[in-house]
């Protein structure tokens, strides 16, 4: 089946982690330069090459119109949802973005799941380099407060990237797994997760390894990004006044300013004041000293917005703040001292912040991955659905059928019949949200239930709504008179259809081929390295004296040729030279009685040989 990795697909950064089966310890996988974070930034070259991560982030400044960041904020959204936000993004939205946003990057157009897939593919590649073999299975985290469309979009991204998404896990819940809180204790835990783009609060009850989410709440539109935008807007206004120049008209410069304020924001978590520095081309430098107190007065309204969801979560779980035993901080924005103070005030205790808030979610995802592999049998996560599921009734009202905070998987059955004789269809509209009216909830899907033409009220169709362990809805229907299953074709209100995802998977195969080559290269390198070492060792053995001088020469030549091939990235060439060396050492292998070495020389896979 292969191993399962855990992926934190974040607004600002993404990470991949796995759990060491022997130790049960999760760890984040680094890139070649030892960095575990991958900026969630994607850029498209004029020749169509896709650039992901750190190099893409550098392009935000020079090629902002070809570069996209924070795409997570657009997942599962339509144009109407993000009109305000789009004003701050340098990239452009293509027409026909009502149910799925389409982003124009240079000459190409992508949907958010496709862009997320580029990030996932990069992490997949990182894992494959690390393990030296294909990695196709992953657990991916999502904000707890993500709705059905946002979850589905994340799953689609995984599929497009060539990953089997084994489970979507809620970020705060994953973090609680990683926190290594004593599994055998009984405790009420609050996880406060303020990331780049989203805020989540989850309350969990831990009992004998069972992590049961009691309630969750949040805001999928609140995070560090908002602080950055607020600071950037303040600086832009000041620059306009001081230099008579509006950076809104120069996306590259505006991005550069954004980077400057982010640097100052980070500094303000460590020091009591910082200076925003920004060179206005040809006009001198904008310098603005910001004291922490001033910074805090600016961002206080944003931080206050996290408190209402916290109170709602407490109310839903039926607990008082003082009953919470442990408070855990997750997400880069929890480094801000004001955030820590507010959380401490609310819960009346010092929050845990021992683990790196950037890594803790990925580590938790890796633990959940290990649980699914069949390891870690003493841990189990019971999560909830963040939003009530309802169906539209007469007059645009909502009948709730699965309440928010219901433990998932959860289901509900509803009976439908007809109002008119010979009516052949019943319209069903599924929504998510807490409000009483359909227009105030999020439309998930509409479909027409096919009914045999009969007198009004006679047909009895049972429709079953099932929210699975990923928090994703599926619908089935059964005719109770005939017992027949009826197919239900659900058209999602927001998001891609199955056909569209299939098309994107096909398109992405060219990327998959590049990945395949990379995996092959690592495997060939490892193998060649092992055989090279084994040959050197064998040549030094006493038995090697039995070789004829020309045989020995041939081996040396083949070995040098292999070493040359290893300097290239051509896995086919490495394989060929490896095969030649194997041929040349045939006699040497026979001369050796040491079975381990002999096996290696016969060209067995390196992982079967213990060198």
């Amino acid at each position: 089946m292969g191993r399962i990795v855990g992926i934190d697909l974040g607004t600002t950064y993404s990470l991949v982690a796995y759990t060491e089966p022997q130790t049960g310890q999760p760890r984040c996988l680094p890139d070649e330069e030892g960095r575990t974070l991958l900026p969630s930034v994607v850029s498209v070259d004029p020749d169509g090459t896709i650039v992901v991560g750190w190099p893409a982030r550098d392009r935000l400044l020079k090629q902002s119109e070809r570069t996209v960041y924070s795409v997570k904020r657009l997942m599962g959204k339509g144009r109407g949802d993000v009109e305000e936000e789009l004003k701050l993004f340098p990239f452009r939205i293509a027409p026909d973005s009502e149910s799925v946003i389409k982003i124009r990057l240079g000459e190409k157009v992508f949907t958010p799941p496709e862009i997320s897939a580029f990030i996932l593919r990069e992490l997949k590649r990182r894992a494959e380099k690390f393990f030296g073999e294909e990695t196709t299975r992953a657990v991916i985290t999502v904000p707890a407060y993500f709705n059905d469309a946002q979850r589905q979009a994340t799953k689609d991204a995984g599929r497009i990237a060539g990953l089997e998404v084994e489970r979507l896990v809620n970020e705060p819940t994953a973090a609680s797994l990683a926190y290594g809180l004593d599994k055998h204790q009984r405790a009420l835990i609050a996880v406060y997760d303020l990331g780049g783009g989203t805020f989540d609060i989850s309350l969990l009850k831990l009992e004998e390894g069972l992590f049961k989410v009691q309630s969750t709440n949040g805001d999928t539109h609140l995070g560090g990004d908002d602080i950055d935008n607020l600071l950037a807007e303040k600086a832009r206004a000041e620059i306009r006044q001081q230099f008579k120049r509006d950076l809104a008209e120069a996306p590259d410069l505006y991005q550069s300013l954004r980077q400057s304020v982010i640097a100052a924001k980070h500094e303000l978590s460590e020091k009591t004041s910082a200076t925003i520095r920004f060179a206005v081309p040809g006009q001198g430098e904008y310098r603005r000293e910001v004291a922490r107190a001033e910074f805090e007065s600016w961002i206080a309204p944003l931080i206050e917005r996290t408190l209402a969801p916290c109170k709602m979560a407490l109310k839903d779980a039926g607990v008082k703040p003082e009953q919470i035993d442990e408070v855990v901080l997750v997400g880069g924005s929890t480094r801000i001292p004001l955030v820590r103070r507010r959380v401490e005030e609310l819960f009346g205790r010092k929050p845990h912040a021992e683990l790196n808030p950037d890594e803790v979610v990925a580590l938790g995802a890796a633990l959940q991955a290990r649980i699914l592999e069949g390891g870690l049998k003493d841990m189990l996560l019971l999560d909830v659905t963040p939003l009530s599921l309802g169906i539209e009734t007469m007059g645009g009202a909502v009948a709730k059928i699965i309440p928010r905070n219901a433990t998932i998987p959860a289901s509900a059955s509803e009976m439908f019949t007809t109002y008119a004789d010979k009516q052949t269809g019943v319209e069903i509209h599924v929504v998510q949200g807490e409000r009483e009216l359909v227009k105030d909830c999020r439309s998930l899907a509409r479909f027409t239930l096919k009914v045999p033409p009969q007198p009004a009220g006679l047909p009895r169709i049972e429709v079953k709504f099932l929210i699975d362990a990923n928090g994703i809805l599926s619908v089935t229907a059964r005719d109770l008179r005939t017992g027949e299953e009826r197919s239900v074709e659900v058209k999602p209100s927001y998001g891609l259809t199955d056909e569209e995802v299939e098309g994107m998977i096909l398109e992405s195969i060219e990327w998959a081929e590049a990945d395949f080559a990379a995996v092959q290269l690592v495997a060939a390198r490892n193998e060649a390295e092992a055989v090279r070492r084994a040959t050197a060792k064998a040549l030094g053995e006493e038995q090697a004296q039995g070789l004829a001088p020309d045989e020995r020469q041939q081996i040396e030549r083949a070995r040098t040729a292999l070493e040359e091939a290893l300097k290239t990235d051509d896995y086919k060439l490495i394989r060929q030279r490896l095969e030649e060396l194997n041929q040349a050492t045939h006699h040497l292998a026979e001369l050796l009685m040491d079975t381990a070495v002999q096996t290696a020389l016969k060209g067995k896979r390196t992982d079967e040989v213990n060198l």
Partner: protein, 229 residues
């Protein structure tokens, strides 16, 4: 003479894996007692039978939760991730019902409503939205207060006037909350009549109390929403 035997064999449920007969006590078991494989849900399953409970209203919450945890460990999809597609499907189905059943049974009001549905006393979700006659006057007053507050909010009323309206509404809410608690006590007081004597008339009384409860609960909910926004 062979015919009836064959029919009985067909009718008797058997384990899909080892074909062991699943009857009597094992008919509603989650796992086959012979080979231990997870079983599909029999059509007659109720939330009570899922937990091996009789259709009674007096439930010990702590014991229900203990069983819920134990069954979660056994049935959850995580425990079947590498099993066959059929077993994964069964695990998903059983866990969904486990969660639905626990959510329903742990709450006394939902539990009564569910039982009334099972016993055919009322259809699920069927609630009379008429004000109980003895409450008419108070409900009328409450609605008036609500409307005044809404109107004041719309016209951007003065802080002090708003505060007063809020305060008055808050008082009324408290009064109704107390009524709600009393109705809940009334509801539980009916439990023994059903649990011990199987008295069907008790079910009708429960249904009436439930209507009253859901009416007042909606009222309190609306007021709370208005006060918090």
């Amino acid at each position: 003479m062979r015919e009836p035997t064959i029919q009985t064999e067909k009718a008797a449920p058997a384990c899909w894996e080892c074909k062991a007969a699943l009857d009597g006590a094992s008919a509603e078991a989650h796992f086959c007692p012979q080979c231990g494989k997870i079983q599909p849900l029999p059509p007659q399953t109720t939330y009570f039978s899922f937990f091996g409970l009789p259709r009674k209203l007096d439930l010990e919450a702590a014991e229900l939760e203990r069983q819920f945890h134990q069954l979660s460990w056994q049935l959850h999809p995580d425990r079947f991730h590498n099993a066959s597609a059929y077993e994964r499907e069964l695990s998903l189905e059983r866990t969904a019902v486990l969660n639905d059943a626990f959510r329903t049974l742990r709450d006394p009001v939902d539990r009564v409503e569910y039982l009334l549905g099972l016993e055919g006393v009322r259809k699920e979700g069927e609630v009379k939205q008429q004000a109980p006659p003895d409450l008419l006057e108070e409900v009328f007053e409450l609605n008036e207060h609500l409307e005044e507050l809404r109107a004041a909010k719309r016209s951007g009323g003065e802080g002090r006037e708003l505060d007063e309206l809020r305060h008055r509404l808050e008082k009324t809410r408290e009064a109704f909350q107390q009524k709600l608690d009393a109705v809940l006590a009334e509801l539980t007081a009916q439990f023994p009549a059903w649990d011990q004597q199987g008295d069907r008339a008790a079910l009708l009384r429960l249904s009436e109390i439930l209507n009253r409860h859901s009416y007042i609960r909606n009222l309190v909910r609306n007021v709370t929403e208005e006060l918090e926004t």
